[in-house]
Each structure stands twice: as C-alpha cells, then as structure tokens.
C-alpha cells in the first residue's frame, strides 16, 4: 500500500515537473531595427556572424551571455540548434585570427537587456517579464 502511494506520488510529481512550460526565450532587438520576423536559420546566421547587416543596411550588433549561462545554453540549442561549444569555436576563430569580430559578451540578463536597449542595431535574447522601452521582440518564423 505504502509503495503504491509512493509510486502514485512520484507519478504525480513527474507529471507536475514535466508539464511546467519552460520559460520562453525572447529574441530582442533595439527599436532602430525595422525587422519584425526572422527564420531560425537567419538567427543562426546572425549568431554565426555570417550576416552582419540588417535588411535595411544597419550594422547588426550581437550580444550574448557567457557560454556556461543556462539561458545561453538553452538559446543555443533550442533557437539556433547548435551546441554552445560550436558557437565558441566560430567566435574564437574570428577573434583570435583577426578575420572578424565575435558577439559582445555581457555577464547578466539585465546587462544584456540594457545593452540592447541602448545600442542601435543590437540583437540579444532574454526571458522578458516586463515591457521595456526601445526594445521589440522578434517573431521566429518556421
């Protein structure tokens, strides 16, 4: 009887745990960016530094969190469908061999939101719980 109850409880706990929706990641851009939607592969190209201008010609300024940050790992796998180490490699190659520039790394989500708010052409990601001025959320197509 006791074991049965434990099993039931565990099952309930599992259902509860797994039914909690994971907090969605918002792709945020500075309000100077006129783009409203991007495909997953466009975001991937932007974060691989293979697309450096917005459609309207404004330079893209890419912000990221440290590679071991939980949100960065989630963003990397779920949105970009890449592993964080692959991004690190691309960026290290650009930075340390002089062929390009890597995204700008900031320490916290708050600092990232602030940087996107204040930098024309900026893109970043966050779990937004409030509305912010100077920022809009990009819809991911497809």
């Amino acid at each position: 009887m006791f074991i049965k109850n434990i099993l039931k409880l565990s099952l309930l706990l599992c259902v509860f745990l797994f039914s909690q929706p994971a907090k969605a990641i918002d792709i945020i851009v500075n309000s100077t960016v006129k783009t409203n939607t991007l495909t997953a592969s466009q975001i991937r190209r932007i974060y691989s530094m293979r697309q450096v201008l917005w459609h309207e010609g404004l330079p893209i300024v890419v912000y990221v969190l440290p590679s071991k940050h939980k949100l960065h790992q989630q963003f990397s796998k779920e949105v970009l469908r890449m592993f964080p180490y692959q991004l690190d490699r691309i960026w290290n190659k650009l930075t340390y061999s002089g062929v390009g520039v890597a995204p700008i790394e900031v320490d916290s989500q708050q600092a990232l939101i602030k940087a996107v708010m204040t930098t024309p052409g900026a893109i970043g990601y966050a779990e937004l719980s409030n509305n912010y001025n100077n920022i809009h959320i990009i819809k991911i197509k497809g």
Binding site: S41, V52, Y96, G98, A102
Partner: protein, 399 residues
C-alpha cells in the same frame, strides 16, 4: 636576478590583467580587446622535440593580446601580438601574429566578401588559424604532419592579401572560399630550424599561394573542406658555405572533415606534400619527395566541462620509401630508417574550470622522427630512438 623572459612575461601579464579588468567595458560595437595566457609543463622522453635534456620543461608558454577597431562599418583594423616559448619547437620570442585591414566590400543577407591586407593568418586548414590559441585548438601539441612546429612561422600566415567569400542560405548551407597570396619573412633562426646549423646562407620565401573551400550543409553537424598550397623558396649560399644555391618548391594538398555532435566529435585531415629540391646539396641535385599522411581524431564530452581526446596520426616523408630503407642505405646507415616517418597516438583530456579557464593534459606515443627539426639535416645522435613519448599539461586563461 630576473631574466628577460620573466620580465617580458610579467609585462604581458600586467597588460592582460589590465585589459581583462576593463575588457567588459571596452568591448563595444567599435572596439574589442581580447587576450590569452597559457603556461604548461612538458616532459619528452626519447627525442629533442622540446629540449635537449630529459628533464621536465616549462618551455610551453603562450601569451597573446589582440584588438579590433571599426574605422567604418565595413572597414576594420585588427592586430595581435603573441609571445611563444616552445623550446626547440619554434623560435622563442614575440611576434606580430597578424596586423591587417579588413575591408568588407560586399555585404548582403546571403553573401559576404572580405579583403584582408597586411599580415594575415592561414585560415585554410582545419586548425591553422588557431594553432597558437591554446584553448581554441584540440590538443596542446597539434598533429605534426600537418601543423609541423618547425615550419610554424612560415605556415602560420603571410604578408600580402587574402580574400574571403562566404555564402549562406537555407538550400545550400554555409560555403566559404578563401584565397591568399603573400610571403613570410624567414629569419636566420627559422632557416636553421629547417636546414640545420650548417646552412649559413639566406633562405627566402618567393611566394605562397593558398586556397581553400569549406561546406557545411544547412543545419548539419558535418563540414567538409579542401585546400591547396603552392610555395617557392630560394637559398643563397654564403661565401664559406657547406651548401650550394638552391630552389625549393613546396606543394601541399589537404582534404578534411569535421562532425560536431552533442557528445561525440570526429575530425580528420588527409594530405599530400610534394617537396622539390633543386641544387642546395650539390649544384645539379634534383629530387622530388612526395610525402603523405592523415590524422583521425575523436573527442567525447562526458559532461559540460570534461572532454576526452583520442587521435591517431600517420605520416611518411617519401611515398617511395615509407619505411626509410632507402634513406638508411643512401646515407650509409648515418640516418636511421625511422627518420622517414612519424606516427603518433595521443590520449588527452581537458577540463573547463570556469568560462575562461581551462586545463588540458595529454600523452603522446610516437613512432619515428621525421618531424623533428632540422628535417633537412637530421640529428641522429640526439634522436637515437625510434619510439619516443611525451606528456604535456597546460593551464590557460583568456578574456
């Protein structure tokens, strides 16, 4: 008494710490500062790859600092200074690693084209552009068949121009085409590292032309690539020289593949080198050596921080003399057969202590001595063992 090396290291450390402290504020859309510091221990048993004695060596120091400044949205100035100490592996000291003007002359959503002028790095092989960046390469000592340290200063880049054309779209994936043309200055030390101390003349690189093509299909874990290199060198004898004037031609072809999975990773390069010597040994000397080889490497990620490495590398300097019998006969036994090949089996591990701090260890079991400097005039007195081993560990920090 502090020696020059310690003073220089302390100076670069000071610069690195200062820049590291301000790096977060100084990295903006216009300016970026980055750098790295790495120190290791290396123990070689049975060869003079790092040092001529058998003791544990600290000659595994790599420091670097770089900056990038956007003059205009499509015009950028970038440079990096490195200090390297690898014992006998390459010339010890400070170098301008790259210093270039990057002109992004065509930018579209799917296409990008860059022209680099100045001193650029070799981006054509799998790890050529990050061979000195301790945390960005797969092992402390790279496969010597492709990334031969004795040839590092010439192979690492050049002074001239380079072009990069990239294309990305959902149908074709990511395609990169690179071409570069330039020369590398060959110092007296570098010349002797390849030719030996008896070569008193001057070595000059006449030109170096390289091209490569990489392709990664859309959202694929695979990437494949190919590269070609064509380069000429000339040797001018000095008045009391043991050697004659000579011309060397070096051609190098590679094919590579990379698979990047969540826990498993595979990579490898297959190559052929055509090395032609005209003159040098004797005025009428003429010989073409065709060397071939490959390495296959796998990495396994146990968790977010711990990664294991295994690699096997196979190389011979002359496909008509893979086991070195002809070499030994031709030199009357002076140069043993094992100078004709070098195979290496490596096991290693790396651990990420923090986002910017990593430690790496590895052990090499090597059979043969074909990639021990100087290759043109081998030293069988010191390198008198066919089988030799090496252990290395390195702590690295970057910002």
């Amino acid at each position: 008494m502090m020696n020059t090396k310690q003073m220089l290291i302390q100076f670069i450390l000071l610069i690195c710490c200062t820049f590291s402290a301000v790096a977060h504020d100084n990295n903006s859309a216009k300016w970026q500062w980055h750098g790295f510091i790495a120190q290791g221990l290396v123990d070689v048993n049975g060869s003079n790859f790092v040092s001529n004695d058998k003791s544990l060596s600290t000659e595994l120091t790599e420091l670097g600092i770089n900056a990038s400044y956007n003059i205009e949205p499509n015009l950028r100035l970038a440079g990096q200074i490195v200090y390297l100490d690898g014992g006998n592996r390459y010339h010890k000291g400070t170098r301008i690693d790259y210093l270039l003007l990057d002109w992004a002359f065509y930018n579209q959503e799917a296409w990008q084209a860059h022209l680099y002028l100045g001193r650029f790095k070799n981006v054509h092989w799998l790890y050529s552009s990050t061979r000195d960046i301790p945390f960005a390469r797969p092992s402390i000592i790279l496969p010597q068949s492709v990334y031969f340290d004795g040839f590092r200063d010439i192979a690492v880049g050049g002074d001239g121009g380079a072009l990069k054309i990239s294309h990305s779209d959902d149908e074709h994936g990511d395609i990169d085409f690179n071409v570069s043309y330039g020369t590398s200055p060959v110092s007296k030390e570098q010349g002797q590292l390849i030719l030996g101390k008896l070569a008193l003349g001057k070595v000059q690189q006449d030109f170096d032309l390289q091209a490569s093509l990489y392709w990664r299909p859309t959202f694929s874990a695979w990437r494949i690539g190919a590269s070609i290199l064509d380069s000429d060198f000339s040797y001018k004898q000095s008045p009391s020289d043991f050697y004659s004037d000579g011309d060397f031609s070096f051609k190098f072809y590679t094919l590579n593949a990379l698979y990047e999975g969540e826990v498993w990773e595979f990579s490898g390069e297959v190559f052929q080198e055509d090395f032609t010597i005209k003159g040098f040994y004797l005025p009428n000397f003429n010989k073409v050596n065709i060397g071939q080889g490959y390495y296959f490497q796998t990495r396994y990620r146990l968790n977010a921080d711990l990664r294991f490495l295994a690699r096997y590398e196979y190389f011979y300097a002359d496909r008509d003399d893979k086991k070195g019998k002809k070499l030994e006969q031709a030199t009357g036994g002076l140069i043993p057969a094992y100078f004709a090949f070098q195979n290496d089996f490596v096991l290693g591990a790396s651990y990420d202590i923090t986002n910017n701090l990593k430690v790496r260890i590895e052990h090499h079991w090597v059979d043969g001595t074909a990639r021990l400097s100087p290759v043109v005039q081998p030293n069988p007195l010191i390198n008198n063992k066919r089988y030799w081993q090496m252990f290395a560990m390195q702590l690295m920090y970057w910002f």
